[in-house]
């Protein structure tokens, strides 16, 4: 018996691939050519946007908007400088520095407002307040609260420390004393710094 080779027997794989290669190459080159034409001719036509009568590539539009925003910033600054009265810079700098300081009256009002929203505020009596630069010293006592005076004082100190205008608060010594006029009370001296506005 002999093996008979006919044309129906498939060629070995490497030979088949070798035969396909020219077609595949032709396809790849044609694909590349079409995509290149698309990139060069079709895409710019559909990704350009009309602006003031001229066509701008899409990539340029955000750049144009950014440049417009920069011009707006400059124009706004120039307008503002012309609108407000001209002043010498020494005065402006000093005025702004002084205006940023917090007033003793403001601190008093803020503390009074804070106490008015609590249920123990009526027991806190502030007898003196001193302010030097940004440092405040608050003197007073918690009275008419019976044995709760120290606890209420601690609550007051905690809430005061949590206020946005207070920083670096030094808690007082907690004590209860007896006074012949006001009865048991907890005196305090609380020191803290204020945040500039």
């Amino acid at each position: 018996m002999t093996d008979i080779q006919t044309s129906t027997v498939p060629a070995p794989l490497p030979h088949a691939v070798r035969k396909m290669l020219p077609s595949l190459l032709l396809f790849s080159v044609v694909l590349l050519g079409l995509l290149t034409l698309c990139w060069a001719l079709v895409l710019p036509r559909y990704t350009s946007l009309e602006l003031d009568g001229s066509m701008l590539p899409a990539a340029q539009v955000p750049v144009y908007a950014y440049e417009l925003e920069s011009k707006i910033e400059l124009a706004e600054a120039a307008r503002d400088a012309l609108t407000l009265p001209p002043r010498d810079e020494t005065y402006i700098a000093l005025r702004d520095r002084v205006r940023a300081h917090v007033s003793l009256a403001d601190i008093e009002a803020d503390i009074a407002s804070m106490l008015s929203k609590t249920d123990y505020g009526q027991f806190v009596v502030i007898t003196a307040m001193r302010m030097t630069g940004g440092k405040v010293e608050l003197e007073g006592d918690v009275r008419h609260a019976g044995p709760r005076s120290m606890t209420l004082l601690a609550t007051f100190v905690d809430e005061l420390a949590a206020q946005p205008f207070v920083t670096e608060l030094v808690p007082p010594a907690f004590t209860r004393e007896d006074d012949p006029k006001i009865g048991p009370h907890s005196p305090f001296v609380i020191r803290f710094n204020v945040v500039s506005r």
């Binding site: 190459l25 990704t47 539009v61 908007a65 307008r79 007033s103």
Partner: protein, 298 residues
Amino acid sequence: MLFPADMLPIRRLIGHPIAHGVGIVAALGLSCLLIFAQVRAVHQLREEALPALSRLPALTARLTALEEQKELMELQRALASGAQDEAIRAYVLPDGPELDRLLSLLDVITQQLEKEGEILHVSPIRVGEAEVDLSDATLEVYPVEMELTMTDAGKDTFLDLIRLSGLLTVSDALPAEETAMLLKLTEQENPAGIAALEQSFLSVDLLRYAREHKALQGRLLVTFPSNAFADSLAAVESSVLLSDARRLLAGDLGDVLQKQNLWPMRLLDVDQAAVERMGEGRVSLSVKLKAYARKTQE
């Protein structure tokens, strides 16, 4: 001969399967790059270019309004005098101590509050030697100390007046962001009205504003009639310093300051303050003020 004999090696190379393979890989690789680039271009169009395009009309309109306002204000500035700068130099931040005006100012304030029953006693006023201002070497600071016995309301009035000292116009009393907000509103409502905002509000002398604020407000609302502007103006006018100015300067004190040529007030700041409650609605206020002056040339 179609192909010269010396081209045979090249022909063999071109016809070689490896060359075909390289060509396919190269062509497909470049095709992938082109596909990626085109997808990216479409994505950029959708995500960046179109949103930017939609913003352009508003940006262009805003720039046009700002340019118009800038031109108007340039013209206005060319016509304006330097009167405010002169007042600052002469009264607010003078050259040298100018102790007579300083003491007159404190005297007028305390006398007026005494007349109203807010101050019960004033100690002698002590003015110390000039000290250098640590933040600005061109300035010097004169410490001024005094003790007052007063009512609680009197203490607040005194400290509020010190806070108003040195402010010349409405814009001096406004935070920068509120001024910026008003200016932005003019762009949207009536760009040409910016001159009216400046003349009828921002540049108005604070004492005049305290006395005539209703008339000035009316004039402004004719130029900017929208509810949005009216609401914003009301919010701005409710700021602390403008409210204090209306409360404290509109009455007798403002009249006295003007008659005695003590307006605008010398720029003062509170360096130290101590309040002690004395009972029966009275407080003792010990205050150390800083009176600023420009260093005189020696």
